[in-house]
């Protein structure tokens, strides 16, 4: 066991010191997973918000408060601009739209039942009607929320009533009869608000018990039955893991052949250990590397890209089975050619064929049915199916057994054949 461990450690050191090898084993698969995950997501996570230019020409506390509300909203990415800059940003496609708060916005917000309503100008390309509708809807919601806050807090409500009644006296162009009606309405509303306060319900001077709310919402969590991946990274990370697995197996297969061509195999064989132990050392290094690299990639997926497996236990089983399977593939690749160049070329071709047919390049579920059937011959397919099974395919233990068993069988058979056929000397090769 000590000698096998020594060989594993040696191989891991050599791998860690081989920059190109490390890139192909870890960096390249990670970049692939992130790249494809991102392009199939449409845009990055941060850019899901609508990008708006905000033009505040009013400059009142009300317009600033509204701008702050929009800025805090997850639906929008706001950047304050002048009107000219905002128009240009929209024209050049740097912003989806601009929202302008013209002079008088704050004053119009303060009064409610007379005069013109507050005006908001939304500028966007006419062809983007859908986004325009969405923006108007969201702006209306934020305006309503401000009203809701006002009506929900007794102290603010009373202050607002007083301000409005005072402003009614000086409002121009308002017919006397209408003015009197509104005054009566606000008078009654003020008395109503005072009665709530005096009854003690307003002990909490903030949200008065009788404060107005359009509705009170309660939410109940009902998990929808999910069919398919949660996001594109759920698909791209299993693919990335399989790229890492393939690269590791290929690298170890080449290193085994290089031990022979460079003569170090002679020394290994001079040690008082069996041929089986030598190959087990190589297999152990390969297995350990695959498990480690896969684990790190999946952890990055989980922590940064929200790739959350349904079952960590099943995911561990999938990774371990894939590792065993591709240790067998490693042994088979190492005996594919008679020379290092031969193994390198044939091994690369085999890897490409396995990844193309197995879903490491094109996701399995977008393949045509005949291709999905054909992909069953590729070990990559079973690796991806197993990992996806644990991440988003909702596999049960029984469902996971099939891909895992196939991978383990490939590993055992591949290793046995490789050990039997492996050429131990250059003259044999």
């Amino acid at each position: 066991m000590g000698t096998i461990l020594a060989m594993m450690v040696k191989d891991l050191k050599l791998l860690a010191r081989d920059r190109m090898g490390s890139i192909f084993t870890f960096i390249f698969p990670l970049v692939m997973a992130i790249f494809f995950g991102t392009i199939f997501s449409g845009t990055g996570p941060a850019s899901r918000a609508l990008t708006l230019a905000l033009v505040d020409e009013d400059g009142t506390p009300e317009s600033r408060a509204f701008a702050d509300t929009l800025g805090a909203s997850p639906e929008f990415q706001i950047e304050p601009m002048t009107r000219e800059a905002a128009r240009e940003a929209v024209r050049l496609g740097r912003r989806t739209a601009y929202v302008a708060l013209p002079p008088g916005f704050g004053e119009a917000r303060r009064r409610m039942f007379y005069g013109e309503p507050p005006e908001i100008e939304v500028g966007l390309d006419p062809s983007r009607e859908a986004e325009g509708g969405m923006i108007q809807g969201l702006l209306t919601r934020h305006l309503s929320q401000q009203m809701q806050e006002l009506f929900g807090r007794g102290d603010r409500m009373e202050a607002w009533i007083e301000e409005t009644r005072a402003s009614l006296d000086t409002a121009r162009g308002l017919p006397a009869e209408r003015r009197a009606t509104i005054q009566r309405f606000f008078g009654e509303l003020g008395r109503f608000q005072a009665s709530i306060r005096d009854s003690g319900a307003g002990a909490d001077s903030g949200r008065a018990g009788g404060g107005w709310q359009p509705a009170r919402f309660r939410t109940a969590d009902i998990a929808r039955v999910r069919r398919g991946p949660r996001n594109a990274y759920d698909v791209s990370f299993p693919q990335g893991v399989m790229w890492a697995v393939l690269s590791t197996a290929y690298g170890f297969a080449l290193s085994l052949v290089m031990e022979r061509t460079r003569g170090t195999l002679v020394r290994l064989r001079m040690a008082p250990i069996s041929r089986g132990q030598i190959l087990l050392g190589k297999a152990g290094g390969c297995l350990f590397t695959i498990v480690t690299v896969s684990t790190v990639l999946l952890l990055i997926g989980a922590l940064v890209f929200n790739v959350r497996p349904n079952s960590w236990g099943l995911l561990a089983a999938a990774v371990l089975s894939s590792a065993i399977g591709f240790v067998g593939i490693m042994m088979l690749i190492s005996v594919m050619g008679r020379s290092q160049r031969g193994v390198s070329g044939l091994g690369w071709a085999a890897m490409m064929a396995m990844s193309m047919t197995g879903g490491a390049m094109v996701p399995l579920f977008v393949m045509p049915p005949w291709m999905q059937t054909a992909s069953q011959i590729s070990p990559v397919r079973w690796g991806i199916i197993a990992i996806e099974g644990a991440i988003w395919r909702d596999f049960t233990v029984q469902q996971m057994l099939l891909p895992c068993a196939i991978l383990v069988a490939i590993g055992v058979v591949g290793f046995a054949v490789g050990v039997r056929v492996f050429r131990w000397t250059e003259s044999e090769a």
Partner: protein, 280 residues
Amino acid sequence: MLRLTGLRKTYGRIVAVDGLDLEVCAGEMFGLLGPNGAGKSTTVSLAIGLLEPDAGRVEIVGFGSPADPAVRARIGVAPQALAIYDDLSAEENLAFFGRLQGLTGRALVERVRWALDFVGLVPRARDRVSTYSGGMKRRLNLAVAVIHDPPLLLLDEPTVGVDPQSRNAIFENILALKRQGRTIVYTTHYMEEAERLCDRVGILDQGKLLALDTVPRLVASHGGKSVLIVARDGEEDRIEADDPVAELARLGPANLRGFRMERPDLEKVFLNLTGRHLRD
């Protein structure tokens, strides 16, 4: 110490080793001299159990066949190809191969230190081998062969491709190993190395052992006569003579402008035995 009996190995139609009988005594330094392709490396591979002979047997006297891993542990090998890892340091290479040989803990640390000191690589012990010169790599190749203190060493062309200074350093190392009482089988196609280092030399060509003896006896029996080259009246004459001094006296000083003598050596022995030069 090492006995090869009726050893034969073929690769297809090519006979690499053809009925080789050989016995190397304990403490002896034995040279296998022959041109490239003579079968030296195949003989080494057979002797250490890396290749199965088609016929014949190999025995480490008193211990058995090197096919047995326990017997193999008594052998150290410096293969012709540099069998070391370029991306590990000398220290890491030695520690790794020492571990494979069953060394652990303090014993391993001490053997690694000894081996580094033995080949003069202590100052570069922690540098990657890829940064070493060819001579340093050869010295490390030798150090790895002795890391587990084996009584029998097989050194397959251990000075190939090194500069004269490194070659001398390697000679000193090998002579030191010999003084420690180790049995050494040394393959080379450099006759000077065989003459300088080896107690006995076997001349191998096309898989066959053509002659085997000490260097003086080989020269005496197969080297032919010395050649006296004399320059007289602008001409040079080559005269073969058993006693060149007596022949020179017989010729006398008259008209003699100069002379030189070619003594027979292993090159001549090989030429006489095969009709070819060692470096053909």
